[in-house]
Amino acid sequence: GQGGQGGQGGGGGQVRVTLVQGLAGEEFYETMACGAKAKAKELGVALDVQGPQKFDPTLQTPIVNSVVASKPDAMLIAPTDVKAMIAPLTQAKQQGIKIILVDTVVEDPGIGLSRISTDNVKGGAAAAKALAEQIGDKGKALVISTDPGVSTVDARIKGFEDEIKASHPGISYLGVQYSHNDVGEASKIVNAALAKDPDLAGVFATNLNSATGAGSALQQAGKLGQVKMVGFDAGPAQVKQLKDGVVQALIAQLPGDIGAKGVEQAVAAVKGQQVTPSIPTDATIVTAQNVDQPEVQKILYKAGC
């Protein structure tokens, strides 16, 4: 709603916050929205959720602009590009809107009173270790990512590459292929990779859509067990692939927590209280062995809330 005054700072009215997702309709961001909504309800905050239909800064920019026009007190945002989103966010900042970065970040350190995200470099390294272990430290490994210029997945790739280079000389690294965050595209890439390198040993997919697509290609190809795969995120389809034995490990983030903490920080910022500039959240390695444990079940991404 447009009911509020759009007033500044922690005045009398209800605090109004808008969450701008990186991509509407992706489980990671929907789970984040769920967490944010729950926290907003708890704190009596009015929360709006918006998001582009593709993970694309030219689509996210007009959304940010209209959100700014609707004058919320604070905006939680997962910027879709480290550079391109600086200008619209600067404008938002100039309008006095408190900006909290959730998940992804931009290059300008002056933007984002608080930055809440997984330690993605570490997550990438953990993925490398898990994959190396699965394939016995040798063979060909391929990375499927979304697009260059996204802070989170770029960091995961960096973590993965550094770890492989540093500690797993037996693995021959085939490099990164970009799926444009499209499930079908990711699946095609893996299909072709299988044909090209029938001895492919392992795949690391850096986010939810890439992993879902890559996993379905492996499942279709009937390469169960031959090609090992580690994927970032823990969407419902991914968990199913894990249980089906297509995928060996998932690096689950805590999107719900990220959303909830984002709302807390936003409220603090609006009320002029102390904000925490950087909040790293945990990542958990989910495998077939631990997936049924209640504490792991809890962190799997939700299919709606």
């Binding site: 991509l23 509407a24 309709g25 992706e26 489980e27 929907e30 929205a33 239909q53 593709k54 292929q177 970009y178 965050n181 499209d182 499930v183 079908g184 699946s187 095609k188 890439i189 299909n191 072709a192 990779a193 299988l194 044909a195 090209k196 029938p198 859509n209 879902t212 697509g213 379905s216 499942q219 279709q220 190809a221 009937g222 969407g235 419902p236 389809a237 199913k240 692939q241 089906d244 991404y301 939700k302 299919a303 709606g304 809330c305």
Partner: protein, 315 residues
């Protein structure tokens, strides 16, 4: 210059281009490209797109266009998943996919034929509506297929070829015959060639258009169901380029965007050319960015060869 266009000979040249591509990749990558594993992959990647492109062929022959197919596909997949989830019945789920697909298609047809709104606008609108609707139904996240579907139909094979590919091939073949040999097909061409003449000739143009868009929707619904079986998810964010892919396949296959001419056989080839190019260059290890460049260039060259031969024959 229009020249002689009837008969199915027109498909021959572009078909030869496809054969040439297959031969070239087989020579360049003899141990990896022409393997049954890879070729089956190709077929199975192309199968679902084939359904969409076949429906699109009918639509484009009427001088229309359907941008909504990807959205309808997703909506139908969601409908199927929810129905199967609620009832536990795979059959009801299939039915749900088909019915919702048909419904969207008929809505397109009604708006285009009765509302006389340009097809591009109508289907752009229903693309947004169906995708948004699907996301509303699911709360914005992908639904999973029931395991029996995913591991059943999704993995089933017959004579070593995925069942899904058989289904798509059978339907495509049937619709190719319908287009070429039946009254329904004849009226489809007539409307695209000269809608006013068809109307004056007593063809129920509006009703026929509704049927054609309904058919495209029905096929998109089936595609949604098969894609749910194949990938195990509803793919809410995965089908944004389906429309352009299907349209490109149709045009590569020699169907004119201005309507009146075209064949399903051409479309089949048009579906495979980009798929083969993509797969072949990936297998050859061409760097991803070069792939885009090369696929683009070869696509233009392939159609050029086709046009050029066709023109030579016509003169």
């Amino acid at each position: 210059m229009k020249g002689v266009r009837l008969g199915d000979l027109q498909v021959v040249w572009i078909g030869l281009v496809l054969v040439a591509l297959l031969a070239a990749f087989s020579i360049l990558a003899p141990t990896t490209f022409p393997t049954s594993f890879n070729l089956l992959n190709l077929v199975s990647d192309a199968a679902i797109l084939l359904l969409l492109a076949t429906g699109m062929t009918y639509v484009i022959i009427t001088a229309g266009i359907d941008l909504s197919v990807g959205g309808v596909l997703v909506f139908s997949a969601v409908a199927a998943a929810e129905v199967m989830d609620a009832t536990g019945s795979l059959a009801l789920g299939t039915l749900a996919a088909l019915v919702t697909g048909l419904a969207w298609g008929v809505l397109n047809g009604v708006l285009i034929a009765l509302g006389r709104i340009p097809a591009l606008i109508v289907t752009l609108g229903t693309l947004g509506m169906s995708l948004g609707g699907a996301l509303l139904l699911t709360g914005g996240v992908d639904l999973r297929a029931p395991t029996d579907l995913n591991l059943g139909l999704g993995l089933a094979r017959w004579l070593g070829v995925p069942l899904i590919a058989w289904i798509c091939a059978a339907i495509t073949a049937a619709l190719a015959l319908v287009l070429a040999w039946t009254r329904f097909g004849r009226h489809t061409y007539a409307i695209g060639s000269n809608a006013e003449a068809a109307r004056r000739g007593g063809v129920a143009v509006r009703r026929h258009l509704i049927k054609v868009y309904g058919l495209a929707g029905l096929l998109a619904g089936l595609a949604g169901h098969l894609s749910l079986a194949k990938y195990g998810i509803t793919g809410v964010s995965a089908h944004s380029t389906d429309n352009l892919q299907a349209i490109a396949a149709v045009v590569i296959g020699g169907t004119s965007l201005f309507g009146g001419v075209g064949t399903v056989a051409g479309t089949v080839i048009g579906v495979f050319i980009p798929v083969v190019l993509q797969n072949g260059f990936q297998i050859l290890g061409v760097r991803p960015f070069w792939q885009q460049v090369v696929v683009g260039a070869v696509l233009v060259a392939a159609v050029y060869v086709d046009q050029w031969r066709r023109r030579a024959r016509d003169q």
